[in-house]
Structures are given as structure tokens and as C-alpha cells.
Assembly symmetry: D2
Homo-oligomer: 431 residues x 4
């Protein structure tokens, strides 16, 4: 993580305090339509209840800032230290992940009190000449909370879909029938390129160090694959042709009985897609990016087209010149309706839909950059210890907080993961 | 089930209506100290959330009475028919049992409305010349709900215990340090005996037909095994001596790492026992019946003593002369504190603690009596289809509703079950 | 087990020695058509390789007789004591059952040497005033080996069937197209009956003590259910109608995808049945007893017919007057062709096919008789520790050694077991 | 795979025929000390019986050469086409891998006949103007068979070790007590380097295309980590310190209870190591490379030393100037005793022990090179479809055929794999 320049001015601290308040408020805002009962649900082993997300993000500030940098800080509850620890072995043991759904106590109101308790202590700290390192961690904690905002929406979508009554997260208008811009190819020369984060702002440790890579000439698609395009793959028997799949992918297809992306459901001869606004007719979404596919499906789709996924560095080279904030709403997420729009705009200069539509699976395994160093101590477990068996995704999705997206950001999941808002953009060699 | 004598008088219908209201009210009373979040928890695969119990017992009246006998009845929600079906294949498909914990919707308040909706319709039916069969099923439905009252407490105990904060279900005074009455033996002659239910009142179909069995002379203990007595077994290495165990029991010991009854926890050199009133020192409970042991543990304990479990018929012969209501509180459960008292009273004539302390594992497999006939239709699935791989328990426990206990009542669970309030009474041959 | 009358005469010892030689020879004769590779196969977790059966039966004599009663006996190999222990915790630890398939060493020839080593030592012992208890155990060991002869055939059938090439165990002529005798009912009065073994000859401890039971009047079928009759159940949708099945049985149907008995395979519109003589057309076997069904299937079939299974005591009462040896071949098995004939003969006086066709599932759980006492020490683990979760079968099958069958013999398996030669005979109440 | 230059001369065909005969003979030579029973054993799910290896390598020639290029070729057995198919979906279905252990038929002698049948047909083909593509595939088939020679030894080591009697594969002298050469560091400049296979000889498709990569300056150790060095990690609590492990690695440690490399066993206070020559005292092996460790262990060891694994390209750059055949025995494997020697020789110019000691885990995920194209058709399944979730190993081991090793060879396994002869060489950044 980038260290804050020292000393931090009083104005900067004030700004940071305001940002803290904003991010914290946004987490609660996401839960406005949820009941405490909704916030108990854990519908898949890799997911967590919404209440847990609210508690764990608070725990992060308490554990790594208040307990270390605020002398005399009184934790609200002695057991919370390990109760809301996710995976930091360096801090304490943790409850098994599947136990998160049985924490009816502390109640939602207790978690709200916990949040206020910690927020008050942070505010106090900011008023009393905070240590540099405490501020550095505060920024990290905000990005941590933003990651959990996305996970909260991801998990609640699955929770509501798992309920046979199929409740709606939030009323909203789904995409109109606008057509996606036609797919064109952007070509890039080969050669040495610099990748990785550069600058004074925040980044995660796994975006560093910035370093040179040698790229071969490549082309990358001007937009993500649409639902309509993906449907052609399905209708061509894509889920039944082993030659299109990685071996582990084919195993997954058969084990889970995959026939389509997650949340697609056949109703008679038509497809219906479950969204945070409820079930939608396929036609409504046809030109929007296909979403909730695994790396295996993205890879098989590309192979079926005779193409391939971009590497994470190809993606970064294509995305780096494109500003993330061009289409951002103030202070919020890219698509407040949590619905995906079709690709639109002018693709003459740069690819479209790079940020904030769907996470885009890449061909790259999640590994450390040359010279990568995790931060010391328990915080070093944040990113580094997951560098095994996962694939990199880039670009952020419609549920990623907008201020949390940048070209060098590396998301990572196991290749069989489907409950994330993950899609695919194609690439090809220049031969 | 016994059929009601026809025609049923108006007075009898009025009394039945009052009983219905009482039982329904008791279910809610059990939840007074619980939050909607508590009522979401499903902490073991064979358990259910409290909210589900409230819904399913309502579903029972709706499905088997209102839908069949009340013309024009409007169900509150069309999906509830299968959503709250437990295992009746003859009615509809059912959600997988593990899904019960993700039903955040319908919310608790919706279930309360569902309960009122069905209660109103039952009241209406009772005012309008109800069919005999509808009344018969109403009685069955009340006993069904009472069974679920017990399960609700059983499940919530496990849910609270699974929570690392170990919340308390209800404040209450645990047993005083009164000593258990000394164990004496009651001897019974062999010969032909009649077992099974007899009379005009309610019983389940599996208590019928009343029939003759030939018993060999036997002795049965005057009270249940106490915690202190069971502790001797533990301290003598009972959980480490394979020769004391059935083969499947020994497998269970090793697979689950059993070292003591469920809810016993070693704190340094002492034992602590988790109860519905919170954790208790072993000393407080030492003379109370050992509880939450599996059939395998009951059987191993008996073998260690050189004794055995009674058969269900030996138990019934010993219990039949003893009235269940001698120590009953009006309209409630035996031990409103949900704490177990030590055996007390005069064991000169009959064994003590037969009813309402702990369910007592017997040596009998749960099978149909000679000439057993399940009721026709989907209700026939109530008891009959479980007659495989389960053992009979007798007598009711401290969380069994008092009006729901009788000498011929056959409870049944898999021999590895521990989360029920199950204990053990010893028997021996007369040689 | 019955204790031999003491003292045993020299002649009796000579006869016992001859019997020992015969039984041991028979075990090897069963393997004549098998290669050492065949004898390595373990195709299901509950089965064992043929080589292991040959070794374990030898281990039994070594462990319980030679090591205890022959001073100066030198074991062939120190590790065999635990290597070939099946489940006797009182003797030693045991290798995990699934490891039996990796014992390429000791080689088959080494096991033959082990057999001779132990046989020579037994012969030596018989020549030198053997202890009474040693002789008692020798008789037990012979019956133990006969049980494993049956298991060896059962396991090898499954092993060959699991091989996609479907090799044949032994050339042989399957049943002709003779018709089964028509099914008639034999009726028995109710009342007190004596059951359990009586006499001076060998029996297992679980057949004792002989004791009184009270039976209600019943009828029992004159023969086993045939393949043709069972096919009617299949064609009537028996495997798709949940109401016909015990709950655990219905779970098994869905989990394993059962559609027919084990070894039945649909070829186009016809059924083929795999036998120890290779695959057979259904027509060849149509009137023979249906075989390789689980207790769940037997029970569902009976329910579909509106009938039930007999209890083990009803079966014993019907079978006791019928001699087992009426249709026995000298010194061998009932059906040397290991093929089942249709029921034939005169059913006027007694039911047919009681012995040596198929093991008949009963409605009785496998539990100890009143006053049951396992033999002391490790040998007490032989039968007693399995009295949980299993159902009783009676009568012996076409692969049971003929001298090993009697009316009181209690076989037992889990209700989902299908690889045994198990079938069904119907019963009904007299109402 | 490199295509053979066309046309191939008669001499070249003759040489190829001789090479074919040699490789085929070597496979059988590896089995000289094994019995047909040994060749049945499959002691872990990812392993195969020796007999299966002999059959499958034959199947490869039959399927991809004889069936396609030799008109009139008569397969020995119609079922072998799918019976011995490993994973080529483009050819046929395959038996489940776990079924390989139940193929007692075809017998070992039948497999020998199958081998001769196919060898005769290949010889015939070579005499009759073989097609270029057939010859290309013949070369591939030889390398395929060499891969299985290594797997055969790997699997049989595990099979013998799983047997409680711990049989010895082959008598042989283990390493003397020679000391390992001291570890020194070789430093390499950063910059653009070419990696991947170049030349006319055989390589696998995954070694192509040769391409540029940009490397940062690095250092690589002059030899592999020794047993003694690894023991220090164990004794420092390496297996108990979560901070040293990747998250998935820590899960593996706890799930499998890893305490040391596979085949290490504590005997009192000393360690014993199981080898193909039987159990060896730790002292005998102390200076030899640590072997049978997973990627997770290699990675944790490196982290504990404050170092890291080399990437596969760093390894290749270090190894490329070093000839593989410097220390090769003619026509055989590097270490015919299948025992590992300590590092020896002069490390002044190049690292030692690069080839033929232990496979060296790298920090690189197994992915396709830029522009990678699998060969068309079913043979394209050989390598490409496994490019997910696996890590690259380099260098070959003491059981890799010597003619089968080269600097660009990419082996790959899941990071939890331990039964391969896999070890670790350290690297570090130049900062």
C-alpha cells in the first residue's frame, strides 16, 4: 500500500474524516431495503451475511487502528476481536466461515452500536494528532470497506435468489432496449511496457511494484461480450462440447450441471435472468454484458469463437489511457440502478465498458509481481496469501464503488467462481 | 389416530376451540425471548429455525384441514403450500431442509399474519358444523404443534450454544443441590402383557394396535442415570474403550470426537454444562438426569455397568400404572424452568422420573406393531415411513408439553442423535 | 456358541479334523477359476479381495486357537496378526478396510503357504490332546470360513461385474425355462412359540437363548417372489412412487439412481441379468427368485402388493419343521451351478425355497434375544457389536455352504445392502 | 510438437525403429521386480496401476497411429479403445480413473500380448513407407511412454509404501555419506530473454512458441535444498506457523496433517525415509535434495528463508547453457539406482543438479505461452486442457528417463501434489 506523505496536513485529515463518514454511511445505505432477517442469510459457503459484512469492516478499523494506535481505547466487546476476524491468523483464531449465519447475537442493533462506537473512536483519533501509519491504515480500511460493499451486494443477490419467493432487492428500471455498440478491435503494438500502480494515491500492495513486461502485439475487443452473443454459444451446444473446455472446467460443468450463466433460468422456450431488481426477461438484457460466468465459461466461450482472453497486462495497457471517472456519478457507484447498460459511446480511440460494468476475467493467474513484498505483520495476509489457484479479473463491476476502481486494480477469484459480477472481453494475437 | 366419536357435541367443539387457542398461544410464548434474527438460525442439519416451526405447524392445519374441509378457503400465499412442507411427498415437493435458514422472507411478521389467517379460518370452521374428520385432524394438528414446540426448544438450545457468545434463552433458577433418590430396582414378572394405546383419547397411529407381547422377567431402575453416575463412566475411560460400544457407536465416537454428552464442556479440571438458562457448573446439575446422550452412549454406559437398556415394552409395562399427570402443572410443561430436577419422591411402588425429565432410550428398534396400519393418504407419512434405522425413546422430557405425554407414546430417533433431551434408565434380566 | 460336550472322544476329534480339511479345501476350490490378479480386486467398500478372505480365515484359526492353545506355536509372520484382522479391536488395531486392495504382498503364493502353515499346526494340535475350548473354537472357525466362502463369491461377482469386460466366473448352465410353482399361502395360528437354537450342534451366539415369543396369526407365501413378479413392480413405476417406500429407502433410490435390482441392465427393451455364469437373458431367469435387492426394495415391493415382510420369528416358525438337508448335495453347496432354480416341489405341507435360494429379508431389526450374552473376550465382537441399524435375513442363499444353513440362523445387513444374494418372501396378517 | 522434416530418410526410419524398441523394452524392464499382483495396485486416486501404464502407452500408439495410418490394422480387442483411454474425450468415453484397479482382466499376460501386437504392427508400418505424420506421432508416443515410465515408478513407490509390510522395489545402494557442495548464488542480469524450445528435435506443444520475456535481475541457488536444510524448517516449527504458508497451503497442512515431506516417518527421535530401495536412515540421505514436497511446502520453505522460488523463465535462463547430457548414462536414466546423490561438481560457471535429481517447483502457474496453439484434434488434449490451477516444475528427476530431459521441458502438477519426485531450488531478487 502506498504510504501517505508525511506530515499529513490538518486539511488532509479533515478530508479523510469526511471520506470515512461517507464510506461508512454508504455501507448502511446499501442495507436500507433489507430486514435484520435478510441480513442473517448465508446462502453459499463462500458468501457472508450482510450483518457480518457490517461488523467485519468495523472490526478492521478496530483491530488494525484503534487497538494499535489509540491508547486507552476500550473495545465494545472482548469477543468481537476474534468473532469478526475473517482470515487473519496473525490476529487471532477465527470462527469457521459457515458459522457466520448463526450469529443471531450480536443483533443488528448491536452491530449498529458497534459501528458507532468505532466511528466515534476514529473521529476522536483524527482530532488528536493521529500517527501517520494510523492514517495509512485508515485509507486501507476504507478501501477494505468498499470491497465489502461489493461483496454485500453480491451475497445478498445470491441470498434473495436462493429464496424460492425470489424477493427483489430494490425497485429499479432495467436497461432499455438500446443496442450495444458494434464490436470492433483495438490493436496494440508489442514491446516493453510498464505495468503496476504509479502515483501518490492509494493502491493495494499487489499492484506493486510497477515493472516492465514484454508484450507481443495483440488486439482487444471494444466492449464486453453481450448476453445475446453468449446465448449463441449456449445454442451451439457450448455446455455439451468437452473440446471447448479446460479439463477442470469440464469437470465443473458436469459436477454442477451448468447449462447457462448463474441466475439464468429457462422459462419454457425463453430465458429469464434474476437481477437485484428482480427477474427480467432476456430481451431486456440482451445487449448488456453477460454476467455471472466463471473463468471456465469465459475461457470456453473465447475458444469457441477461436479467440482468447486478454492477459491482465494486455488489459492494463489497453485501459491505462482511459480515465475511470469519465462516466462516474458523484460519490456513488457507476450504475446506481445496479443494472448494466449496453455498451455505448465512441470506441474510436479506446475500448468501451472497461470500468464498472462487469469484472473481466483475464488469462493471468494471480501471482506476485517481480519484487512483490506484502506489508509486514497481519495486514500482509490481506492479499499475498491468496496467490495460488486464482485468476485475475480487471475493471470493476456495476456493484463496485466508483471511487474504488482503477486500471491497475487486481481482483482475483477461483476459476469456478460465478456469484461475482464477472464477464468476459475477448482478445486475439496479431499474427 | 383415534377417530373422534360422532357426532361431536357443541360443547366438545367449544372445548376443542379453546384447546386450539391455548396450544397456538403457547408456541408464540416460547418465542418471547427470541428476536427475529434468533428465529432464523439453523445450526445443525437435522434442526430447523424457530420461524420455520411456527410456519410449518400452521401449514399443517391449512393443508390437511382448511384446504380439504373448508370450501372457499383462500390460502394466504400460494407458495406456502410447498414452502413449509416438511416431508409429505403426497402433498407436494419440498425445499431442501438446509434451505430453511435462508427464508428471510416471509418475515417473522408475515408468519405471524399467516398464523392469524389460519387461526381465524379454523375458528370460522368450528362455528360452522365442522366435519368429523376435520375435527379428528384438528386434534392431530394440536399434537403435531406440541411436538414442534419441543423441537423448537431443542433447536434453539443448539442454536444458542453454537453461538460463541453463548446467549441465554431465558433467565431461570437451575436445580438446587438436592440429592437424587437412591437407585433401587423394580422387578416385574414375565408373561403375556398387553401394550399399545387403549382408550378414547388421542394417540398416534404408531401406538396401535394394542397387542400382546411375551415378556421375560426383568428389573428396571427406579430413576434415570444421573450426571454424577455418568461422569464415572467418562472417568473410567468409557469413551476410549471400544469393547463397550456397538460397532456403529464406536465409529461415531471417533468420527465426532465424542468425549462427553453434548453441551458438556471441560473448563480446566471441571465440567460446565450449557442449559437453556445458560452455562451451569457441573455441581449444580450433578444429581439431575444425564441428558443429551445418544443411544450409542446410553448403550455403552449400560454395558459398562454390566446392565442393559429396557425394551420399549418393559418400559411401558413399568410405566402404565403410573399416572402422567401426578406432577403436571396446569396447561404447561412439566418443568417450566426448563431445568431438570433430581429424582425425588417415594419409589416404593413405582419407578420415579418416568415422565417429563428426559426421553429414555430403549433397546427397541422403531418398527410397526403387529397389524399396524398408517392412516390413508399423505397423513400416513406422519410416522410410518420412518420405521427404519431408528430407536424408540419413551417418557417425554422437560421440554415436552405436559398434556402431550403418555405411557404408550413412542418417540424415535437415529441412534447417533444427541441434540434431543435424551437420557437413560437401566434394566437387567432376572436370572 | 454351543460348547462341545466334554470330554471329546478321539473319534470325534478325527471327524473334526476331516471336516476341517474339507472346508479348507473348499475355500481354495472356489478360487480355481481366478487368477492372483482377480484375487486383488476390491470393487466396493464393503467387499474384500478374494485373497484377503483366504488370509483372514486363516488368521482366525491362528489368532484364536494357535496363539492361545498351542504352546510354542511360531506364527509365520509377526505382522499378519494385525494385517489380516478384520474388526476385532480386542486383538489388535486393523488396517483400514479400503487398504485390503493394496496388499499385493503377501502374494497369493505366500497366502497359500500361510494356509498350509496354519493347517499343519492345527493338525498337530489335534494329534496332541487338544483343549476343549480349542475344539469349540475350531468349530466356530469352520463356520467362520464358510461365511467367508459365501462372501468371497459375493465379492467376486461384484468384482467381475465392475469390470467393463464382464468376465465369467465359471462356465455353467443357467436355469431352464421351468415355471415356478404357483404361489399359495400357508397360515399359522397365533400364540406362544419357542424360537432360537436348540440342540447339541453348532450355532452362533446370536441364535441364543431359545425363548418364547407371542405371535399373532399370520400367513406366509409358499415361495420367494420371482423376477417376473418383481418386474411388474418396476413396470408399474415402483421406483418412481415415493409413497411405496420407507423414507430412508426413498433417499437411497434417489441417491443411487436405483431402477431395478443390482445386476439388472436394460439392453434396448429387454433386461439382462449378470450372473456368476455371465450375462443372462431375463427370460432364462424369469421364474427364479428375484435376487440382489435391498431391504428397502423388498419392503416397497411388499407394500405395493398390499402385503408385508414376515418377521424373523414368523419365518422361523414356518421353517422350523422343514429339514434343511432334503435337497442338499453332499459336502457342497445347494446349487453347484451357482444358479437359482425356480420353486418346485409340493407346497402342500410346507413353504418351498426356504433354504439355499436367496437370503430372505425380514421385517425384524437385528437385536439381541432376551438374555443374550456374547461370548467373553475378543470373540464376543463376532456378532454382538453389530446389533444396530441392520435387518435380519433368513434361509441362506445359493452361495451359502449347505452344511452352514439352519432354520435359526440369523444373517444381518444394513437395509440398503444389495450385493448379497438377497430376495424376498411375502407375508400377511390374518384379519 | 515439432513436425519431422520431410521426407524422412530410410536411415532415420531405421533409427526411429530402434529407438522405439529400446523405449518399449525399458518399460518392461522397470517391471522386472514386480508381480502381476503388484501391478494391480492403485494406492492413490491420482495414481495408476503399473499394468495400466503398460496398456495405456500401447493404446496411445494404437489409437493415434495404427488406427489412423495403417489401413487394415486389426485391433487386438474392440473394447481396449476406451478401456485404456486416459482422458482424451475426442477419442471416446473413458472408465472412471478409480476403476483402473479392478481390471484384473485383461491379465498381465494379455497386456504383454497387446504390447507385442502393437509393436509388430508399428514395425510393419515402418517397413512400408510410413506417413510423415505417423512418424511425428511415433516420436510423440515415445515421449509419452517415457512420461509414463516415470509415473509408473512414482506410483509403484507409493503403492509399496502404502503396504504396511513396506516391500522394496529394488535392491540398491543408497547415497554414500558424501557432503553436498556448499550453496552459492548465481546472479543473472535482467533484460529481454528468449525462452521456449528451439531446434529440430522433439518438444511438446506447450514449450512453444519460443518467445521473448523481460526478466528482472535475479539470483538462483547453485543446488537444490537438502534434507538437512529442510529439517531445520521442520524443527523451527515450519509446519505450525500459518504466516509462512499460502492460504490454500495452510488448509492442506491442516487437512492432511502434514508434518514433513511424504515418505518421511519419525521413528522415536530420528527420521526414516522410504525409498525405492526400502526405508533409509535420515543420515544416509541428509545431503541429498529434499524430495516429495508439494509446491506449498516449497513455497513456505522459501518464505521461511526470506527467499522465494524462481519463475520458470528464470530457471530456464539459468539452465539453458547447461547441457543435459553431461552426466547422463547411456540409454538409461540418470541415477539407475533410483537414489539421489548429493550435489557435487564445480558450481563456478553454472548451477548444479539442474537435471535429473528432483523436479523443481517454480513460482509460475502453468499457462500457455503467447501464441500457444495446441495440435488439432484429440491430441490437442495432451497438454493444453490442463492449463488451470497447476504450477510448473522444471528439470526432471532421478526417475525421469535421461533422453527425455531438456531445459525447456515444462512439467506441471497441482500445488498440493507430493507423490512426484519434487523438490525445491531457491531464488532471490537482486535489489
Amino acid at each position: 500500500m502506498t504510504t501517505l506523505a508525511s506530515p499529513v496536513s490538518g486539511d488532509a485529515i479533515t478530508a479523510l474524516g469526511a471520506q470515512f463518514a461517507t464510506v461508512r454511511r454508504q455501507s448502511l445505505a446499501l442495507c436500507e431495503t433489507l430486514t435484520p432477517e435478510d441480513m442473517m442469510v448465508q446462502s453459499l459457503p463462500e458468501g457472508s451475511p450482510a450483518k457480518w459484512h457490517l461488523a467485519h469492516t468495523t472490526w478492521f478499523f478496530e483491530t488494525f487502528i484503534l487497538r494499535e494506535f489509540v491508547s486507552g481505547y476500550q473495545p465494545l466487546h472482548p469477543d468481537f476481536l476474534w468473532l469478526f476476524n475473517s482470515y487473519y491468523n496473525g490476529v487471532s483464531d477465527q470462527p469457521e466461515k459457515t458459522l457466520r449465519a448463526i450469529f443471531s447475537r450480536p443483533a443488528f442493533v448491536d452491530i449498529l452500536a458497534y459501528r458507532r462506537h468505532v466511528e466515534d473512536a476514529i473521529a476522536f483519533m483524527l482530532d488528536h494528532e493521529p500517527a501517520q501509519e494510523a492514517l495509512t491504515r485508515l485509507v486501507l480500511g476504507l478501501h477494505h470497506e468498499q470491497q465489502h460493499q461489493e461483496l454485500l451486494l453480491t451475497d445478498i443477490k445470491h441470498a434473495l435468489w436462493s429464496n424460492p419467493l425470489r424477493p427483489i432487492y430494490r425497485e429499479g428500471v432495467l436497461s432499455t432496449h438500446a443496442q450495444a455498440a458494434p464490436l470492433v478491435w483495438h490493436e496494440y503494438e508489442g514491446g516493453l511496457r510498464e505495468v503496476g500502480f504509479e502515483g501518490d494515491e492509494f493502491c493495494f500492495d499487489n499492484e506493486l511494484p510497477r515493472h516492465a513486461v514484454y508484450l507481443h502485439p495483440f488486439r482487444i475487443a471494444s466492449r464486453a461480450v453481450t448476453c445475446t452473443e453468449y446465448l449463441e454459444f449456449i445454442e451451439d451446444g457450448g455446455y455439451h462440447r468437452s473440446e471447448l473446455w479446460l479439463s477442470a472446467g469440464w469437470d465443473a460443468v458436469r459436477e454442477h450441471g451448468w447449462q447457462a450463466p448463474l441466475y439464468w433460468q429457462r422459462e419454457g422456450s425463453a430465458w429469464q435472468v434474476f437481477t437485484l431488481h428482480g427477474p427480467a426477461d432476456f430481451g431486456t438484457l440482451r445487449d448488456t454484458p453477460v454476467c455471472h460466468i466463471s473463468h471456465f465459461e469465459a475461457d470456453a466461450y473465447a475458444r469457441w469463437r477461436g479467440l482468447r482472453l486478454p492477459t491482465e497486462f494486455e488489459w492494463e495497457v489497453a485501459a491505462s489511457p482511459v480515465p475511470t471517472h469519465g462516466n462516474l456519478l458523484e460519490g456513488g457507484r457507476l450504475h446506481p440502478s445496479v443494472a448494466l447498460p449496453p455498451a455505448s459511446g465512441n470506441a474510436n480511440r479506446h475500448p468501451l465498458q472497461l470500468y464498472g460494468d462487469v469484472w473481466e476475467w483475464t488469462a493471468s493467474a494471480y501471482l506476485g509481481y517481480p519484487g512483490y513484498r506484502p506489508v509486514p505483520g497481519a495486514l500482509g495476509e490481506y492479499n499475498g496469501k491468496f496467490m495460488s489457484g486464482q485468476m485475475v479479473l480487471r475493471g470493476g463491476s456495476c456493484v463496485t464503488p466508483a471511487t474504488h476502481i482503477r486500471a491497475t486494480y487486481r481482483n482475483f477469484f477461483s476459476p469456478a467462481t460465478r456469484w461475482q459480477f464477472s464477464g468476459v472481453r475477448l482478445a486475439q494475437d496479431v499474427s
